[in-house]
């Protein structure tokens, strides 16, 4: 475990050197929030209106939180790195080292995400406060609960994206699988809460990865309750174990097919 914490720390320190690149990435976040502010402003003709159990403020805070999770993840970069590692044969450098590739990816990418998460969260909360002039009231314990849910969501997301990237062992370019995954998360998990979908789809979505990586932390932020926290931790815990085992299984299967020519 110590070696993985060291990988996490070194990646975090490296990213501190490139803080300007992270700041530039804020522009994309601001654009998305700006679009959704306009969109929900248009949909809610009156700010006090309640649609599917959400006020306009709750809806905008929901999108701010889900976008924080998605933007700080740097999912495209992670997918590209894994696909390139496999396709170019660079993965052989990792195989020969005394760590597991999946765990190496997980901890090194957590290092990248942590710094971004802190910075995008400050920005997101700032935009929300300036625009909405109010923030959901949460006690210290509740804030810790939401942050833990965000951490689990990020770990599950990294593992699932890694699993998709590792499909490059079997098909030359696994990026299209990632496109679909990212759009599903973006459209189904980021823009709308589960309650906005037809009633027959809601139970399915509640047990889908979308609940674990997007809905649960955002819902806790806008409408916290301890039963919801417990439910979120149980579902995220199950997904964490499943995603971990699945990623290792794909890696083990894939690495047997690895064939690197020359150097």
């Amino acid at each position: 475990m110590k070696k993985y914490l060291y990988i996490f720390k070194s990646e975090l320190m490296t990213n501190l050197q490139y803080i300007f690149d992270i700041l530039i990435g804020f522009i994309s976040y601001c654009i998305m929030i700006f679009i959704f502010l306009n969109l929900w402003n248009y949909i809610y003709s009156d700010p006090s209106e309640v649609i599917k159990g959400y006020t306009m403020n709750q809806m905008i805070w929901y999108v701010i939180v889900t976008e924080i999770l998605w933007m700080s993840l740097g999912s495209r970069k992670l997918n590209r790195k894994i696909c390139n590692d496999v396709r170019s044969g660079n993965i052989t450098y990792n195989i020969t080292k005394p760590y597991n590739y999946v765990e190496y990816i997980l901890f090194s990418h957590l290092g990248v995400t942590t710094l971004k998460f802190v910075m995008v969260t400050i920005l997101g909360l700032g935009i929300g406060l300036i625009y909405l002039k109010s923030i959901p009231t949460l006690s210290f314990v509740k804030v810790i609960g939401v942050l833990l849910s965000c951490l689990f969501a990020t770990i599950i997301n990294i593992l699932l994206i890694t699993a998709l990237g590792l499909f490059s062992f079997f098909i030359e370019d696994a990026s299209p699988l990632f496109w679909l995954y990212s759009k599903a998360i973006l459209v189904v998990g980021t823009i709308f809460p589960i309650e906005f979908f037809p009633a027959f789809l809601q139970p399915i979505m509640k047990y889908s990865p979308i609940y674990a990586v997007s809905y649960a932390p955002a819902k806790l932020f806008v409408d916290f309750s301890y039963p919801k926290l417990l439910e979120a931790f149980i579902i995220q815990g199950i997904y964490l174990i499943v995603a971990f085992l699945l990623t290792h299984w794909i890696y083990r299967k894939g690495v047997k097919k690895l064939n690197v020519n020359g150097g």
């Binding site: 306009n38 969109l39 949909i43 370019d173 299209p176 459209v187």
Partner: protein
């Protein structure tokens, strides 16, 4: 003059053809990229189905018009990324000195540079654009207008990319700025103009000309009016000339980095 234009068109067509053949070497990857891009774009229909279940009209657009908006955005994106992919890498090409490769060729530097590779998944975008047009309602004049507006819109998007990338001739590393403008063009293009208010609308008809690339074309295909066709033609010509002017103005400041590499 005409022979020169003809030769340039032949060379450009050959360049795109060979780039496509290179990408088609792995047929499975080639087809997967196209099919998954269509599915990827189709995911967004869910978003609009939900929004229209809440309200009959979003930003002055009916559901069918939003499909057309998406179709137009996908078509312009697809044409620009397929035929002129390297216009979105131009800043990096200028900074890394790779422009040397095109300067020694006896053809137009800018056109040779931006048409030297293709983005396969952009074929999926173009097909998706046509599917959306089909869902909107196929009529002979809508197909022609759609293809015409798609081409003009793509040329405007490419021109904007060239203009902002060319700033690298003066200010060095400006790819972040160019990438940001390109992503602004893509993100705003898929939302109805009517949901935005104030200063943003002015941007849509100036430095982010989404008016020409998507908003006016959607109005034009919904209700044919000749004044909008003239507006699109004049707007497209203006941006193309501006792009060429700024690129060649900047090219005078270009100096080689003596980079040695092989183009395969």
């Amino acid at each position: 003059m005409l022979t020169e234009v003809k030769n340039q068109i032949i060379v450009t067509a050959q360049s795109i053809k060979f780039a496509l053949q290179r990408e088609m070497l792995n047929k499975v990857t080639f087809l997967t990229n196209i099919i998954f891009m269509i599915l990827n774009n189709a995911c967004f229909i869910v978003q609009w189905i939900i929004l229209y279940s809440l309200k009959d009209n979003v930003g002055g657009y009916s559901f069918k018009q939003v499909l057309l908006l998406w179709g137009m955005a996908a078509m312009t994106y697809g044409i620009s990324r397929f035929f002129f992919k390297d216009s979105f890498e131009l800043s990096e090409i200028i900074n890394s000195g790779q422009l040397d490769n095109y300067l020694v060729q006896p053809k137009n530097v800018l056109i040779s540079c931006i048409t030297s590779s293709v983005e396969v998944s952009a074929i999926g975008d173009m097909i998706y654009g046509l599917i959306m047009l089909f869902l909107f309602g196929l009529k002979p004049h809508t197909i022609l207008l759609f293809l015409f507006c798609g081409l003009c819109g793509a040329l405007v998007i490419v021109s904007i990319a060239i203009i902002f990338s060319s700033l690298s001739f003066w200010f060095g590393k400006t790819e972040m700025l160019a990438n940001t403008v390109n992503s602004l063009m893509t993100n705003f293009a898929t939302y109805p103009e009517g949901i935005f208010k104030g200063l943003v609308k002015i941007l849509f008809y100036t430095i982010l000309p989404l008016g020409i690339t998507t908003y006016v074309p959607v109005q034009l295909i919904s209700h044919l009016e000749w004044k909008w066709i003239i507006f699109i033609i004049l707007g497209t010509i203006f941006f193309i000339f501006l792009a060429f002017f700024i690129f060649y103005k900047g090219l005078k400041r270009y100096s080689s980095t003596n980079l040695m590499n092989a183009r395969i």
